[in-house]
Amino acid sequence: MIRRFAVFLLLLGLGAIFADLLLGYTPSEELNLTARYYAEHTAQDLGAANIVTAIVVTYRGLDTLGEVTVLFLTATIIGMVLARGRKHRALQRQLPAAGELLTTGSRLLVPLILLLGVYVFVNGHLTPGGGFQGGAIVASAALLLLLTDPLKRFSHRLIAVMEAVSGLFFIGLGVLGLVYAGGFLDSRVLPNGAFGTLFSAGVMPIIYSFIGLKVGAEFTSMLTHLAETEQS
């Protein structure tokens, strides 16, 4: 009872702070200095139509590298933690077969989902999409396959190779930026190209595609590890 009351008091206090923040908030009418810089310079300097992508991949590419590292660590830790209990892994009962609807549906949808995922991360510099979203979509295809057949096993080696190779290419392109352009992860290694076309914005779409592959591989590995805990 006292515990409930303490929780209630804490939430009341937080709610008061939030209400104060909300009432005191006035939306700004103008872009602030940083946002104004991005709005004015992204198109000329980097040739990317999607300013968010330009920020994520180039202006703050180092943050993205850190983010990808965090995801990689998460996937590795999940693999490590779950690999311990592999001894009693044998499945005792027979799982009921997936329904006709799910089987046929997944056979139809998986290629389409993969295609959509690739489209989303290849066009990250033009449309509201990008590597992280596309990677998540690609991994959702793996999730659909696992829903259809919970005992399906993906090749860990393939996932690991894909992740490592795309990570290496990501860093490699960043280092190329150090040599041929303004700095680490600078996208102007290749010419900017015609604004708004697929082959524009320097290496930005290439980097984002590799991020997409890497994120897809990491999410798939997390899903696979969690699915392999299926037992009894």
Binding site: P27, N32, A35, V56, I77, V81, V215
Partner: protein, 118 residues
């Protein structure tokens, strides 16, 4: 009208914290954390919103020349993109530890896990 998204975000944070503090089942706590996480993301996006402006993507509708007066702040969006992905990673980690805990203790009730309690 501008405050609806932000107010929803704050309410989601409070709901998530309430769930995390009052529930005993670790899976429910994880769901509560996800709800709170969504709330934080919503508040961050709402901060970048400006009335009457459009998404920070330049095309025929938003030419380069008047981008400054037509687009919303792109920075919170880039930030939230990061936050969503990290949030997903954190959720996956929490679920993994929940699974390990269940394997060790045979229960999902955290009030029964008293190893570090004295």
């Amino acid at each position: 009208m501008d405050w609806i998204a932000m107010a929803t975000g704050f309410i989601l944070i409070l709901m998530g914290l309430y769930g995390a503090l009052t529930n005993r089942n670790i899976l429910r706590i994880i769901v509560s954390f996800s709800v709170a996480n969504t709330g934080v993301n919503l508040v961050l996006v709402a901060v970048g919103y400006m009335r009457g402006r459009t998404a920070p993507i330049l095309d025929e509708a938003v030419p380069m020349t008047d981008a400054v007066t037509r687009i919303i702040d792109p920075l919170p969006q880039a930030l939230v993109l990061t936050a969503i992905v990290i949030g997903l990673g954190v959720t996956a980690l929490m679920l993994t530890y929940a699974y390990k805990l269940y394997e060790e203790k045979g229960t999902l009730d955290i009030s029964k896990c008293r190893d570090l309690k004295w």
